[in-house]
């Protein structure tokens, strides 16, 4: 075979090899979800960014955003004008199928997360999971989704256009439970982990948590507290204790 023919064959083979390798690492479902996300917050990436968006779409080994999260989400309350406001200082408790329990505390944006590194003694959660926020328990199981917003999808123009049943304020519709909402009277003292800020000004109040560290000095609530031990509830960990 002449050198020019070899060179030509290699040129033809290169796109095939590249396409094959790309196919091994590219997940079109996640890629499309990431592409559709709104632009980054003006303040930039932090523990407070992208409230209500699917955290683990990016914070995983696929997209590589740090830290790698085991679960993540945002807790909201609804203002009288129906707009949403992140709820700070409430514990979110994850119960896995193997009996492990993990707690996280919502920060000023209402965001909470448990990193893979926070999981102590286990490599990962055993799905399905159940979730408690304040005094409320999620009525369905979590089968495999790590981002709360994977199912608790907020309203957007595309969804409203496709599905007339979508609640324009919360996003609840035929294929989404909408925003995770909690009212302040559903957060007993034992489920508070920092100063509660009631956007309606009608209740809430004092901090009960001791040592729930603020993530970046915005006041209400630390980034994450988590503890995972089989059949044990704990609230210690990286961010401070209960």
């Amino acid at each position: 075979m002449r050198a020019t023919e070899i060179s030509r064959a290699l040129r033809l083979a290169l796109p095939v090899v590249v396409a094959s390798l790309w196919g091994c690492t590219h997940d079109p479902v996640i890629a499309e979800r990431i592409e559709k996300l709104p632009a980054e917050d003006a303040a930039g990436a932090s523990a407070f960014h992208r409230a209500g968006q699917p955290c683990v779409d990016c914070h995983n080994t696929y997209e590589g955003a740090s830290p790698e999260l085991a679960v993540g989400g945002t807790i909201f309350s609804q203002n009288p004008d129906l707009t949403l406001k992140g709820v700070s200082g409430v514990f979110v408790t994850i119960f896995d199928s193997a009996g492990a329990t993990s707690k996280a505390c919502t920060n000023a944006a209402g965001n909470f997360y448990i990193t893979k590194a926070d999981l102590q003694g286990v490599a990962d959660f055993a799905f399905p999971l159940t979730v408690q926020v304040g005094s409320r328990f999620m009525s369905s199981l979590v089968g495999r989704e790590r981002s709360c917003a994977g199912c608790h999808v907020l309203a957007n123009e595309e969804r409203i256009a496709e599905d007339p049943s979508v609640d324009k304020a919360t996003g609840q519709g035929r294929s989404s439970a909408g925003a995770i909402l909690i009212s302040f009277d559903e957060i007993p003292e034992s489920e508070r982990c920092g100063p509660l800020v009631d956007p309606t000004g009608s209740g809430g109040g004092g901090a009960s948590g001791t040592g729930v560290g603020g993530a970046s000095g915005t006041g209400a609530g630390g980034a994450t507290v988590a503890s995972t031990t089989a059949a044990t509830t704990g609230a210690g960990g990286s961010g401070g204790g209960q």
Binding site: F127, S140, V142, S165, R174, A177
Partner: protein, 178 residues
């Protein structure tokens, strides 16, 4: 050989192939319907559907428009024919009926074999059962253990157990869910 005859020699098989493929799309019978047997509907809707809804029909699993074996339910995906929302009104009769047809349609021929030989072993070959038992690749992992309550609920219904025993197994399985 002239340029034209060369072209004819090369192009003829291709033209024949295209015509063959095109004409196969015109064959009769492709719109015919056939009815397959499926285990009884009443016990499914009364007992089995609720377990499927709670254990399999979450929005991140089979409660999705984009996955096979679509399951509707009050805490999951809602029927597009009704205006209910997730975590809203209880599961409707329409949704339970759709769940029934969804299960029956996974492998209709295999399902008919199960129905034609109640109590036989064909039930163990169903994709539905093999996936739930973790014997076949399943993104949701192993959901039932053979002969546990959930397995006896679904498999018992499939193989024609009495409605009483199906109901008891389903209730026991539901009671164990968190």
């Amino acid at each position: 050989m002239s340029g034209t005859s060369k072209f004819v020699k090369v192009a003829s098989p291709l033209v024949l192939l295209v015509l063959g493929v095109a004409s196969s799309g015109c064959q009769d019978g492709l719109t015919e319907t056939r009815t397959f047997a499926c285990p009884p509907r009443a016990p499914f809707e009364a007992h089995v559907s609720e377990l499927m809804e709670r254990r399999c029909g979450t929005l991140d699993c089979h409660g999705s428009d984009f996955r096979p074996l679509r399951i509707y339910g009050e805490d999951g995906l809602r029927s597009p024919r009704e205006n209910n929302r997730t975590a809203g009104a209880p599961t409707t009769a329409t949704e339970r009926a759709d769940n029934y047809f969804s299960l029956c349609a996974v492998e209709p021929e295999q399902m008919e074999k199960v129905v034609s030989n109640p109590g036989g072993s064909a039930v163990n070959t169903l994709l539905l059962v093999r996936k739930a038992r973790g014997q076949e690749g399943h993104k949701g992992g192993k959901v039932f253990n053979p002969f546990d309550d959930a397995d006896r609920c679904v498999v018992g219904w499939l193989r024609g157990d009495t409605e009483k025993s199906v109901a008891e197994a389903c209730q026991a399985a539901l009671a164990k869910l968190p």
